[in-house]
Amino acid sequence: MFELINTLLIGITAGSIYSLMAISVVLVWRSTRVVNFAAGGLALASSFVGAAILEKTGSFWIALPIAMVAGAVFSAFIEYFFLRPLLKRSGDKGAEIFLPIIATLGLLGIIKTILNYIYGDRVGSLPPPMSDKGFVFSGESIALSPMRLLILGIVLLLMISLTLVFQRTNLGLSLRAASFAPEISRLAGIRVDFIRTVGWAISGGVGATAGILQTTNGSGSVSPESFEFSLLLVFGFVAAVIGGIESLIGAVLGGLTLGIILAIILMYVGGSLVFIAAFLILILVLLLRPHGIIGAKGGRRA
């Protein structure tokens, strides 16, 4: 029983970080219909920024927001200078539909190469800002530490802020409208191109948070060829697809589901199966519920 609760706690924490990555992927998909593999690279680059700021200032609380802003700027930059010209030129016929996907894969490679060039074998250090020793209950230590609570708190806060922005503000209305129906939005006077860049920026900021939390929750250091980040990207995508790729709530539920299932497999089956399990879940969801776990047929949600 104790073991099960601990497994769930580990799964929920990891899953909440996958949720953030999934949100990052979903936001770009909704704003430009592009599967953004560069999201993993952007999270990585932002985490390096975070590590650099942490080294300079010593404060996680300065490093995190600056890394988020950096992620937003990187992401908006990529949308504006790479994807926008590319999408204007490429059509939707034949092989052209693959252009944006290949472009984002290429960008992922470019970002890693640049980071490799700058950092080489050096790593960025992002140790947990709070104790990661589990709280003790009746003599036993549980898998909930101040650090894990902090991660859950940050994720929750970010999700609440995003929900408020999307549901309660004019910007949010523009973002939703532009993703549902770009042409009608243009006719209503929405500057859809600008709104798309904003969508990418938010995605970049969320991705940066995912990257930093993934590092502090894991090894505590980030390298250009970090396996942790490959996992983050893959699990983020799987979570986004499980959630129906269109929905923010879906991305959250997808991330948590994936995190919990993977934690259970890690605990009771074996660590070597985790990666395969993620793909099995992906395939099962695509076979049984191709619209995702909450995506009702044809109905898109905010």
């Binding site: 004019n170 409208a177 549902f180 009608i184 209503a188 929405i190």
Partner: protein, 235 residues
């Protein structure tokens, strides 16, 4: 006023509009009729900035409107309600309406416009928090028109508002369009397959055929023109 000179539009190798010229005075309701493929929708899409013109000129109030983006033209008072009940299904009725006035960045003005829309279409008022895809066809058309009015237009471009609606609802929508011209002084370009209905409420009519103007004149005269009757009104 709207001045269109020698407007030519190509879709790839196909010439959709061939040197179309006409004027519409301020406050007039102009019906554009013609068969499928006559270029009616292309004309509207070009005037609202969705399609690019190959040649020609179009001015609204002496402002050159070709080569501008739709979101910019909205700010010059041009609002296009595209074909097929152009509402956003995933948003609520209220959100669809508010969308039209976001660019104005003026809450009190927007609230005033919303009140006007709800007076014009009281049925929308009962459904404000419902999603747009739960509305009937007629209600969706009302919502599309309402969204357009929210952007405080001077020139309304309406693409087949009667499409797929029941006769009684069409009458209601047409009446609302007529009211917008008469009471608010809007200029309206109404593209319609329902030629008879459109000519009944219009001041002037323009008949398009294969991308060129086949006839123009007062709506009353066109309605009684034997050639127009035979070709487009079906009797």
């Amino acid at each position: 006023m709207l001045r269109i000179e020698n407007l030519t539009v190509d879709h790839g190798a196909i010439r959709a509009l061939r040197g179309v010229s006409f004027n519409v005075e301020k406050g007039q309701l102009a019906a554009i009729i013609g068969a499928n493929g006559a270029g009616k929708t292309t004309l509207l899409r070009t005037l609202s900035g969705l399609n690019k013109a190959s040649e020609g000129q179009a001015h609204w109030n002496d402002h050159n409107i070709l080569h501008s983006k739709p979101e910019k033209l909205v700010r010059h008072g041009i609002s296009h309600v595209s074909e097929g009940k152009s509402v956003i299904p995933g948003l609520t009725v209220s959100e669809n309406l508010e969308l039209g006035s976001l660019w104005r960045r003026n809450r009190s003005e927007s609230a005033k416009s919303k009140k006007e829309v709800l007076e014009l279409f009281p049925r929308l008022g009962e459904r404000l928090s419902q999603r747009a895809d739960s509305l009937s066809g007629g209600e969706r058309q009302m919502l599309a028109l309402g969204r357009s009015i929210m952007s405080k237009p001077e020139l309304l471009l309406l693409d087949e508002p009667s499409l797929g609606l029941a006769p009684l609802v069409i009458e209601q929508i047409f009446q609302a369009i007529r009211d917008l011209t008469t009471t608010k002084g809007l200029t309206v370009i109404l593209v319609e397959q329902n030629a008879m209905g459109a000519l009944k409420i219009a001041d002037v009519g323009i008949v398009l055929n294969l991308g060129s103007i086949a006839a123009t004149g007062s709506a009353a005269a066109l309605k009684d023109d034997p050639a127009v009757r035979a070709a487009y009104l079906g009797f």
